[in-house]
Symmetry: C2
Subunit: 192 residues, 2 copies
């Protein structure tokens, strides 16, 4: 599906925009083609944009003081990603975002989003619900991390991203769950 | 400070409402006085409201499969709290919220918030930024949990809630950090 059509369908699920309003909104987005392994945000960067995924898969991750990688989010088509703390507060990035596969994304700057929200009430409505859903996903991830049952966390992950096990290298799935690759294999075998 | 004035000042930091618009908004809020230990949300409840804290302190928490308590959030004056996953999705509560101290809160129902956001663009703007900030706090909490350095997590907690160490029983601070009370004492002694 074309980027424009995918974004239009995605927004229409939450807010009603006229064709003219969507045209205006879409004019603020910049398409980008990314290669597997390409980085869009590194720790310490100034962050000006958020990204809507059209195709491919990205990961948002964090390297802790013991050089261990944790994955915060896998960003699939119709997901949004950025370092939102840095984007909203104007602070430096504390996470990294890069591409697991080749990807097509649409980029929207912070100032353009605010301009659009101020100009069009339905766009403000859309972005409020977009963040509400992000907030829920983040709370769910918190609860999942606090719960020690790795098997349950693995099942939740597969429910959220059914196609993940075939798409994404196993060590990245282990890094999302915070378990070793051996534990992941055991969970997967027990599962099927 | 009176509940009305506190909410008005809180909203004015993000959105410009006329006196008449604020009057209309405020008419949808219901004040509640709560006693120390009182519960407002229990796991399994239907959740219809979110809560703005006027005075006192509440905690949002979760009991995992090993009957261990984790604290997701301490809610202080001008903070909002609810089980937002349950509130937004219409699902049953997966967390508990109760009062650490006596508290005064203002209650707003889900349907009234949507009515207000639809009627007044500045109110939709306010709630978008309220959730943006909640999302950032949630992401920060995630990163903090993923980082193994308990000392750093403790320092971040004190920076976020400077008055917390005197206000809140020590076992609750330990439950927020996910450490034992002994570790907390060691962190506190090393700190001062």
């Amino acid at each position: 599906m074309q980027a424009r059509e995918l974004l239009q369908q995605h927004i229409a699920k939450t807010a009603s925009l006229t064709e003219e309003q969507f045209e205006y909104l879409f004019s603020f987005f910049t398409p980008m083609s990314l290669k597997k392994g390409q980085t869009i945000i590194s720790e310490g960067d100034k962050v000006d944009c958020e990204y809507f995924v059209v195709s491919g898969c990205l990961k948002a991750f964090f390297i802790n003081d013991e050089i261990k990688m944790y994955i915060l989010q896998f960003a699939m088509p119709t997901w949004w990603t950025s370092d939102y703390a840095a984007l909203y507060n104007g602070t430096k990035a504390t996470i990294h975002i890069d591409c697991i596969t080749d990807a097509e994304i649409l980029c929207l700057s912070n100032s353009d989003r605010e301009k659009l929200c101020s100009a069009l009430h339905p766009v403000e409505h859309f972005f409020r619900w977009r963040t509400n859903r992000g907030y829920i996903a983040s709370q769910k991830r918190l609860l999942s991390l606090m719960n020690n049952d790795a098997k349950k966390r693995y099942e939740e992950l597969l429910a959220q991203y059914p196609q993940l096990y075939n798409l994404v290298p196993k060590h990245l799935i282990a890094a999302y769950l915070g378990v070793s690759r051996e534990t992941l294999s055991r969970l997967h075998t027990g599962q099927h």
